[in-house]
């Protein structure tokens, strides 16, 4: 029982990270029908931006060591940086090829992903580096042997706050209404006077900021970052988006949490049924294959055929 509660906490926690990243995949897919393969790399860019900012404010503002102020600056700064990078990618890589087939944009996305990864490897080397700890992390004993750490609580609190904020933007603001209109029909939205290019750019900014938050939060919990950290995590978040129903926003959150829990349950119980804990990364992909076979539209995705 202790193991179960512990693995559930860990799973929901890592799942919240997947969910934050999955939201970016699903929003961009919803609006452009594009799988943004570079999105996992934005999560990495966010972590590196946070890393750079943490050192910068330690040297220049005297905010060295753990403090809430430093954490807030690093988190918000990384989100803004990643939003700008995401907007630049959309503007200079995707928009020029959007008028060609979807396959062209997809291949462009793969190219952008490889470009970002290799630029960072060339600049920072392939080795992992320690992210400065901005939180005096400690563990709180729950009941039995189950425990939760301060960094895990931080992940829960910040990701829930960001998801509520996203919900508000999408359903209560003018730009959010325009996002929903564009995802339903691009040309009709243009005829309503919506600057659809601006809405698309804004969507990339939102998704990228969420991924950067995931990057900084993860680095508080497991503080090693490297230029290729976005590959596996990004793929799992993509699977989460597909599991929830790609294009569906609550689906991305549900998918992320489920993938996270499935993964930690394999670590906790897999050995009992002959699945070694080293298979934790394979779980997401087994789930992907099952979803594609059994319910390609995902758990919350609509089964309505795309209009032609």
């Amino acid at each position: 029982m202790d193991t179960f509660v512990q693995q559930l906490i860990n799973g929901l926690n890592i799942g919240a990270i997947y969910a934050l990243i999955a939201l970016g995949y699903t929003m961009v897919y919803g609006i452009l029908r594009l799988i943004n393969f570079a999105h996992g790399d934005i999560y990495m860019v966010g972590a590196f931006a946070g890393y750079g900012l943490a050192y910068f404010i330690a040297a220049n503002l005297g905010l060295a060591g753990a403090s809430w102020g430093a954490l807030l600056i690093v988190l918000v700064g990384a989100m803004i940086t990643a939003a700008l990078v995401g907007m630049a990618i959309e503007r200079f890589a995707y928009r020029p090829v959007r008028k060609y087939s979807r396959m062209t944009t997809l291949i462009t996305a793969i190219g952008v992903s490889l470009l970002i990864e290799n630029l960072f490897v060339a600049r920072y080397g392939g080795m992992g580096r320690g992210f400065p700890q901005l939180l005096n992390d400690r563990t709180y004993q729950l009941f039995g042997n189950a425990a939760i750490s301060k960094s895990q609580i931080l992940i829960f609190v910040v990701s829930i706050a960001l998801m509520l904020l996203l919900q508000w933007i999408i359903y209560k603001t003018r730009v959010g209404t325009a996002m929903r209109a564009v995802s339903f029909n691009l040309n009709s939205s243009k005829l309503m006077g919506i600057n659809t290019d601006a809405i698309i750019t804004f969507t990339f900014a939102l998704g990228s900021a969420l991924a950067a938050a995931a990057g900084v939060l993860t680095a508080q919990y497991s503080p090693t970052i490297d230029p290729l950290m976005g590959i596996t995590t990004g793929l799992k978040a993509f699977v989460a988006a597909v599991l929830g129903g790609i294009g569906n926003i609550p689906g991305a959150v549900l998918g992320g949490l489920l993938i996270g829990v499935a993964e930690t349950m394999v670590v906790g119980y897999g050995a009992n049924v002959g699945i070694a804990s080293t298979y934790r990364d394979a779980v997401a992909f087994a789930i992907l294959i099952l979803v594609l076979l059994l319910r390609p539209s995902g758990l919350l995705g609509s089964t309505v055929q795309e209009k032609v």
Partner: protein
């Protein structure tokens, strides 16, 4: 399609299309089309399915770009201008089909039509009195380019008409005369 006059400058031609051709990839959908709509006029474009009516409208609203030719709105070239900017300049068209955003609420759908307007209370009032607004548009003598499958109705509710066949204008003239033309009667009015 409604054309709203914005500039104080009096141009008698609200909309002028000069020799435009439009392609979908390798398919040429419009060949060298010319037409004009004068201030306050109701002009109709009739043609069989696939003649190019929708393509013409999509091109005027900037959803498609012509490969050649010019489109002038109130005397200024507009081909290649983004759709949302044309809407702001007074060219409005409701989307094809029922044009409803099924993922938005009814109120949000109505508000969409006022996306570019800033005054929230005015929008709310207008949404509540949407039918009054429609009558108002009619009575204001707004310029209209009417594109209808129903040629009979279109010819009887317009001043002038253009007939489109496989991407080319084959006839034009006052709607009354076209409605009386034996070729139109046979091909479009089923008389």
């Amino acid at each position: 399609m409604l054309l709203t006059q914005n500039s104080k400058l009096k141009t008698s031609f609200m909309l002028t299309i000069e020799n435009i051709s439009v392609n979908y990839g390798a398919i040429e959908a419009l060949t060298n089309i010319s037409m004009r709509v004068e201030q306050g006029e109701v002009v109709t474009l009739i043609g069989a399915n696939g003649a190019g009516k929708t393509t013409t409208l999509r091109t005027i609203t900037g959803l498609l770009e012509p490969t050649e030719g010019r489109i002038l709105f109130e005397g200024k070239e507009i081909q290649g201008v983004a759709t949302h900017k044309l809407v702001a300049r007074g060219i409005s068209m409701s989307p094809e089909g029922r044009g409803v955003f099924a993922n938005l609420s009814v109120r949000e759908n109505l508000q969409m039509g006022a996306y570019l307007r800033k005054n929230k209370t005015e929008i709310a009032e207008d949404v509540d009195t949407i039918f009054e607004a429609i009558d108002e548009i009619r009575s204001k003598g707004t310029t209209i380019l009417l594109v209808e499958q129903n040629a009979h109705a279109a010819l009887h509710h317009s001043d002038r008409a253009y007939v489109l066949e496989t991407g080319k204008i084959v006839m034009e003239g006052p709607s009354k005369e076209l409605a009386a033309d034996p070729r139109i009667k046979e091909a479009y009015l089923g008389e």
